[in-house]
């Protein structure tokens, strides 16, 4: 059995600074880390692998430095790391990213289960997982909150979708996206961490994938959506309005606030 985990290296969002004047994101002081939801995806894979003996491959698209996140995945227990890195991959939108990841998965060849985090903390679209499933033409289960049972042929999970919790059973091949509730990612064991520092990371660029996907479908060229403008919204200040001995006035104004925020629950 083979499990593929999709991983993205992201900036530590708690440390990313935002330069309002320039409308630019300053990542310089923020370290990088594995997208937190991807750690849940990796943990899910490792738990399944421990029982089934599955091989776990972590796949990431990113700059050469993203090699670090694949080493980290290996330190935590992945068997191998594959980095998709090429200047031509720059500027990829959801479609181009999903196309590239799908191509890499096809190059890996046989696989049973693909696991991805529900979304990344930087891009935040949550679309790449389901889109990869769409391209590979395999089913997907989104927002998996818990894994009830699994074998080498199938998996039973709880998916938080459609404003409810659905128990779903899927036979492989299958892609699933997981939430942070699915598990608590383990810390890397010290020995594995030291070993992973020296692990060999497989690197594929455009030419390694040319049999499977045409360059025109990757990077900027393969991205139909383009950011045309960045708007920096005015920083909102707290209203700081005080009502003293004027409760009815306050209540009316609150009603107005509720209306404007569309939170009045008309079903009640």
């Amino acid at each position: 059995m083979t499990i593929i985990v999709l991983i993205k290296q992201v900036p530590d969002m708690e440390k990313v600074k935002f330069d309002r004047e320039k409308g630019r994101i300053d990542r310089s002081s923020a370290g990088t880390e594995i997208n937190p939801f991807d750690l849940n995806a990796l943990e899910a894979a490792l738990v399944i692998a421990e029982k089934t003996g599955a091989k776990v491959a972590a796949v990431s698209m990113g700059p050469p430095q993203a090699e670090e996140s694949l080493r980290e995945a290996i330190a935590r227990g992945a068997d191998e790391g594959i980095l998709l890195s090429d200047a031509k991959f720059g500027g990829s939108d959801v479609k181009a990213t999903s196309s590239l990841l799908s191509a890499a998965i096809r190059k890996i060849g046989s696989y049973d289960l693909i696991i991805a985090g529900i979304q990344t903390v930087d891009g935040d679209t949550g679309q790449v997982g389901p889109e990869v499933a769409g391209i590979l033409n395999i089913p997907h289960i989104s927002n998996v909150e818990s894994i009830r049972d699994f074998t080498e042929e199938s998996i039973e999970v709880v998916s938080n979708v459609w404003e409810g919790q659905y128990l779903k059973r899927g036979k492989y091949p299958l892609l699933m996206t997981v939430t942070k509730d699915v598990n608590v990612p383990r810390l890397p064991n010290f020995k594995n961490k030291m070993k992973a520092r020296k692990a060999e990371i497989t690197k594929w660029d455009c030419s390694d994938l040319k049999e499977i996907i045409d360059e025109s479908r990757l990077g900027v060229k393969g991205s139909p959506t383009k950011v045309k403008k960045i708007e920096v919204p005015a920083q909102s200040q707290r209203e700081g309005k005080i009502f003293k001995d004027s409760s009815s006035e306050a209540v009316l104004e609150m009603l107005d606030v509720f209306k404007k925020s569309r939170v009045l629950n008309k079903e009640v």
Binding site: D12, E33, R186
Partner: protein, 459 residues
Amino acid sequence: MNENIIRKMQEIVGEDWVVADLEKVGSYCEDETEKAVKPKVCRDCVVVKPASAEEISEVMKYANENRLPVMARGGGTSLSGAAVAIMPTIIISLERMNKIIEVDETSLTVECEAGVTLLDIVELFSKHDSLYFPIHPGDEGAQVGGMIVMNAGGVRAVRYGVMRDQVKGLEAVLPTGEIIHAGGKLIKNNAGLDLKNLLIGSEGILGIVTKATLSIKPKDKHIGSLLVSFENDTDAVKAVTEIFKSGIKPLAIEYMEKTAILRAAEDIGMTWPSNIGNVDLYFIVSERKEDDLYEMYETIVGICEENNAVESFVAESSKEQKTLLDIRSHVYPSMQKMVVDAIDAAVPIRNLAKYMEGINKIHEKYGVEISTIGHIGDGNMHNSILTEDAEKPECYDQIVDEIFNLIIECEGAITGEHGVGKVRNERLKLQFTEKELSLMKAIKSVFDPNNILNPGTAL
């Protein structure tokens, strides 16, 4: 509380900033001290929330003239009764004085008002490229003023020391109403007697700190946490002494009994990464270069393994490291309901093994549960006497007597970081001579001739 006093307070700070309603006053009259040892709380108090040192000065002048007890209150996180009112008192809450005045990136200092919380400081530097406030004296609701007068220590004191080592200068209001300044951004300053260091750790009986200049440090680029598990305390303690011998100085070395740390994690819905062994050591290390950090990891884990460590983990992302620290910080709150008395012993690192052996003997002799966590890298151990309902066990007095004697035998201090407050006053004579104690009392009366500022505390 006398109406005239309330009216006078309203005159000084404004009507909105005086709380006299008994129900609201209650939470300002006490701190986090264990209920079995906490002195009896007096709620007949008035809470004043001044906006400046000048207003505090006015309050002090009035109180001094009228011989009224005053107590300054910060975050209320004290564990020694220092912020418990035991008589009708004017309680000065510094919560409104919460401005961060300046970060001086050349002198490496941050200047702030006394009501700034540890959380404010942590957040201020969390996004800073290269500087930070290196120590973490515990509950993040604690305020700078309180941390200074209690000389707080906490988790990360191994490399950079305690609060005393971070305070460069301060402003304080004396019990007689004068505002004084001590120290500054200087590195060398040899003029006169050092009033700053008298005020630090004075437990709020010499003056009310209103402003402080704290030292900040360059951030190492690479910071990591190691978690190493052992089967027993002897191995863990031995590993720590060996690590010090090898010349390594991590930011922190924490010692935790597994049951305590697992309870803390469960209580806040988090997961502690390791569940084998009975005792954990938790190291925070930092270096400028990644290779140096890894070398340090290897040395530490190497020494631990020589001392029979059973498992080691590494946390490097800031979130995972924060999870470890959050769980560690929650150990005390999670067992608070069971704690009769939390001993706050400080002993020289060399005597740690002897101290822990002694504690084990006391535990065996009396059959009372004693749970130990501690800032082991500072030789500061918290041995909590636990019972199901936090009522004093029968032989409580003998147990604590024996523990305090053990501390003195180990050349230690009766309190490492929590302070004497209103709970350890009787024990002072174990550590000090008559003469030493009378010097301290004389200093108090010079600052506070009418003994109005937090009477019954620290001495």
